[in-house]
């Protein structure tokens, strides 16, 4: 593997995100390992879909870094399917007679410390409802990031296929799809998602769906423009004269040219979706309770104003940091930088 500076950045980022991805193993009131009747560790036994998806996305990231893109894809698909079979919320403690190993932080985002334990038990203290702050931040970051990454993945896939199709296949159907997406693009996205979220029963997956719906047109427009530009190239005309279908043309000829643009836009999309999700959660229409996201934590911290609490500061810093990291990673490198790195 040719380890460039960019690779190191990615490796560091993946390492930093590991505690967030494996949040149920880091912050959980259930023990990690238990003896007695249950041979499996209860923390792993009671995973919710979001827990599984978080871990799977992190593992997929590692696979991509190791150059195993297909493994990553398979992992995401399998985890998406498996998450459908899991209960929506984390299952409570199983009957375990002997606890062999506790999680480092013995609280999850939902657990309330009714005994008001001493500060040494809570690494960063508690919020006003006696919930562990570190657990809240870890789970909040995990859910916000999960939302941003899943939406970006789906938007990139959908937008690339639809954009290439409408650019390469000119039929009344493709024109209709194009106009429809243009109409969708005209809606104020945040307001539309807000209204749609308020109309339906709050659900994480539904929120992802609305966000995908309103981010899709911009990705579509971008890919369509790029494909139309590439269509004029001689190699594209040659492939067409060889009888390549639009799908073959996209997959074998255009995708390598589109990869840099798609990566850049995907990183920017992550920042945008993070911002949108924060705004939605701030308005009370984000990830449904008892789950938390960074926007909801920001709102909770803001409600304590004029007292500036650690919750407010940490959630502000995390949102800014994540968005900034995404924008920096998405910054398209100049040819000089490219040659310097490789």
């Amino acid at each position: 593997m040719n380890t460039t500076r960019a690779h190191w950045v990615w490796i560091l980022l993946t390492g930093a995100l590991a505690p967030v991805a494996f949040a149920p193993l880091l912050c959980n009131e259930l023990p990690l390992l238990a003896g007695g009747a249950s041979p499996l560790s209860p923390a792993l036994w009671g995973l919710a879909p979001r827990d599984l998806l978080g871990m799977a996305l992190w593992c997929a990231g590692v696979c991509v870094l190791c150059g195993r893109g297909r493994w990553a894809l398979a992992l995401i698909v399998v985890s998406l399917l498996a998450s459908l079979a899991l209960p929506l919320e984390r299952v409570g403690a199983t009957a375990a007679s002997d606890v062999l190993l506790h999680c480092p932080v013995p609280y999850s985002a939902e657990s309330v410390d009714r005994e008001l334990s001493s500060a040494s038990v809570h690494w960063l203290g508690t919020d006003r409802y006696s919930r562990d702050l570190l657990a809240l931040l870890v789970y909040g970051t995990r859910d916000s990031l999960l939302c941003a990454l899943l939406v970006t993945l789906m938007v990139t896939a959908l937008g690339t296929v639809s954009g290439a199709w409408t650019a390469l296949v000119r039929t009344p159907w493709s024109t209709t799809v194009m106009r429809g997406l243009q109409a969708l693009d005209a809606f104020p996205a945040l307001l539309a998602v807000l209204v749609l979220q308020s109309l339906c029963r709050p659900s994480f997956m539904l929120m992802l769906g609305w966000l995908v719906l309103f981010r899709w047109p911009s990705q579509h427009r971008l890919v369509q423009g790029e494909v139309r530009r590439l269509e004029g190239e001689a190699w594209c005309a040659a492939a067409r004269s060889d009888g390549a279908s639009w799908w073959g043309l996209l997959r074998h000829e255009m995708l390598p040219h589109l990869r840099a643009m798609l990566t850049t836009h995907a990183a920017l999309n992550v920042a945008l979706v993070l911002a949108m999700e924060s705004a939605l959660a701030w308005l009370g229409f984000g990830v449904p309770a008892p789950a938390v996201s960074l926007g909801a934590l920001l709102r909770q911290g803001q409600d304590d104003l004029p007292f500036v609490t650690p919750l407010l500061l940490t959630s502000l810093a995390l949102i800014c940091g994540l968005c900034f990291a995404a924008v920096l990673l998405g910054r398209r490198r100049t040819p000089a930088e490219e040659s310097g790195h490789s």
Binding site: Q182, F187, S198, L283
Partner: protein, 514 residues
């Protein structure tokens, strides 16, 4: 010429997309439970509904008004069916909440005085209500029971149409429409002159609503006291309820001026337009295009009135933000262009930070640091502008660098044009195209506002109104804000295209965006 053609083409495409946006907004609004009323979502009475709630439901369903029904006028029959469809869908919704049995006796009490007028005795609704009163208690709160009532009503409507046709034949009116219209016109004129025959009087009586345009026309030309008699006849046939204290004749004349189109037959394109606009979707779009978005359930006022009230604050904040962006972005871009490498690096870092930090975070930081008073539009505008300043400056700088590399700039330099003269007199105008596009893309902000910033700073604008409407389930207001935002976006896109064409015709005609 080619550029003009392109602008027109874009305008047509924008109009088509605008129509689609409105249809989408209508579909979202119409597909909601309880939103089947043309007047917005209905208020469903619960098990222990108060008389006021029942009255509200009567008004929502239109049951407090006489139904203008005539078997001879197909549109009126369709109107009756649509009214009944609304009743049925509302009943289905109520059935899901288990309160149908409560509603059935409520509805059964309705065939009251106003339904017993000349046309209402033929009305589908009267029959439907009787059917409902008969069937609903027997069928209990089952879905099948409601379906049975619905089917019975549909059959009753068909039966009434057939009966109406038979009644017209019996009365001796010609079966084909133009001839019948002529007969009715002659009968109405005879009524106006006071020399109508017994047969003509019967025609007017049987034709009901179909005779209304002729009666009204005759009433307008008739002398007193025949005019008074004819207006009374119009009021009786149309079953107009005159509010207490109003002059019956003046009220009837006003009512007729508003509703004349519904009763006047049309042909050709007008009939197609009228047929399209008589559908719920068509009516909603036509109303929306006229600026009438229905009634806000939270404010109990027309949505248009609420929007008009909120628009100035949003426009003030938006303009302030736009002026701030333009006033600061252009000098910043010029500074970056002429800056040394280190300063440029600092500017790049600041741009990346400003672009990355979400609006929500900037707003919270402004609240912590500046502690602004509620409704402070300057701070709100500053928060809105922050990202835009750096975004505009980055695009302008890139364009300026592109223009600087053009051969004609090199030629100018060779002729000794340098420094500020080169930038302000020769470079700035050709480099402004991205600013124009970006300014156009920021224009919707002037109309739809920012939900988060306005809510956070308590600015009484469109964004905060939309957020408030969403929180309180005021769908007509929320959807109107969305539709308005969509329309503003489309118009701003089109404006950007036109300005690009004006600034740089060959480039725009090739479809090259800035």
């Amino acid at each position: 010429m080619r550029a003009l053609g392109r602008a027109l083409q874009r305008l047509l495409a924008a109009a088509a997309v605008l129509l689609f946006v409105l249809v989408l907004a209508f579909a979202a609004l119409g597909s909601l439970a309880g939103a089947n009323s043309d007047d917005g979502p209905l208020v469903a009475p619960q098990i222990h509904a108060t008389p006021a709630e029942r009255q509200l439901m009567r008004e929502s369903l239109g049951l407090d008004r006489p139904l203008l029904m005539n078997a001879d006028v197909p549109t009126a029959a369709r109107t009756a069916r649509r009214a009944w469809a609304r009743v049925v869908s509302e009943l289905e919704r109520l059935e899901a909440t288990g309160s149908l049995l409560e509603v059935a006796p409520l509805l059964s009490a309705f065939p009251s005085r106003e339904l017993q007028t000349l046309d209402a005795k033929h009305s589908a609704l009267a029959l439907a209500l009787r059917e409902l009163a008969r069937c609903a208690p027997l069928s209990g709160a089952s879905r099948a029971g409601v379906r049975a009532v619905s089917t019975a009503v549909a059959e009753a409507c068909q039966r009434l149409e057939a009966q109406g046709q038979a009644a017209l034949s019996l009365a001796g009116l010609k079966p084909t429409a133009p001839e019948r219209e002529q007969q009715l016109e002659q009968a109405a004129l005879a009524c106006a002159q006071g020399n109508e025959s017994e047969e003509q009087r019967r025609w007017i009586s049987v034709a009901g609503c179909a005779a209304l345009p002729h009666l009204a026309r005759a009433a307008e030309v008739a002398q007193e006291p025949r005019a008074q008699v004819l207006w009374d006849r119009v009021r009786e046939v149309a079953a107009i309820q005159v509010p207490a204290g109003s002059d019956p004749r003046a009220f009837t004349q006003r009512w007729w001026r508003r509703h004349a189109d519904e009763f006047t037959p049309a042909g050709g394109l007008e009939s197609i337009a009228r047929s399209l606009s008589s559908s719920r979707c068509g009516m909603w779009i036509a109303m929306a295009l006229r600026g009438d978005f229905g009634e806000s359930t939270r404010h109990q006022r027309p949505v248009a009135e609420v929007l008009r009230e909120r628009l100035p604050a949003t426009m003030r904040t938006g303009w302030l933000a736009l002026v701030l962006i333009l006033a600061l972005a252009i000098p910043l871009a010029l500074l970056q262009l002429r800056a040394r490498a280190r300063l440029r690096l600092v500017c790049d870092g600041a741009t990346a930070v400003a672009l990355a930090v979400p609006e929500t975070v900037v707003a919270v930081l402004a609240l912590i640091v500046l502690e602004p008073a509620r409704g402070n539009e300057w701070i709100a505008a500053g928060v809105l502008a922050l990202g835009g300043i750096f975004y505009f400056a980055a695009h302008l700088r890139v364009r300026l660098e592109e223009v600087l590399a053009e051969p004609w700039v090199f030629a100018l330099r060779m002729r000794g044009v340098k420094g500020q003269r080169l930038i302000f007199r020769h470079l700035l105008l050709p480099a402004l195209s991205p600013v124009v596009t970006l300014t156009a893309s920021a224009l919707p902000l002037l109309v739809s506002g920012s939900v988060v910033v306005e809510t956070m700073f308590g600015v009484p604008g469109m964004g905060s109104a939309a957020a408030d409407a969403t929180l309180h389930g005021d769908l007509p207001l929320a959807m109107s804000a969305i539709a308005l935002g969509g329309a503003a976006t489309l118009i701003s896109w089109w404006l950007a295209e036109v300005v690009q064409i004006v600034l740089n015709p060959p480039r725009a005609a090739r479809g090259v965006s800035a």
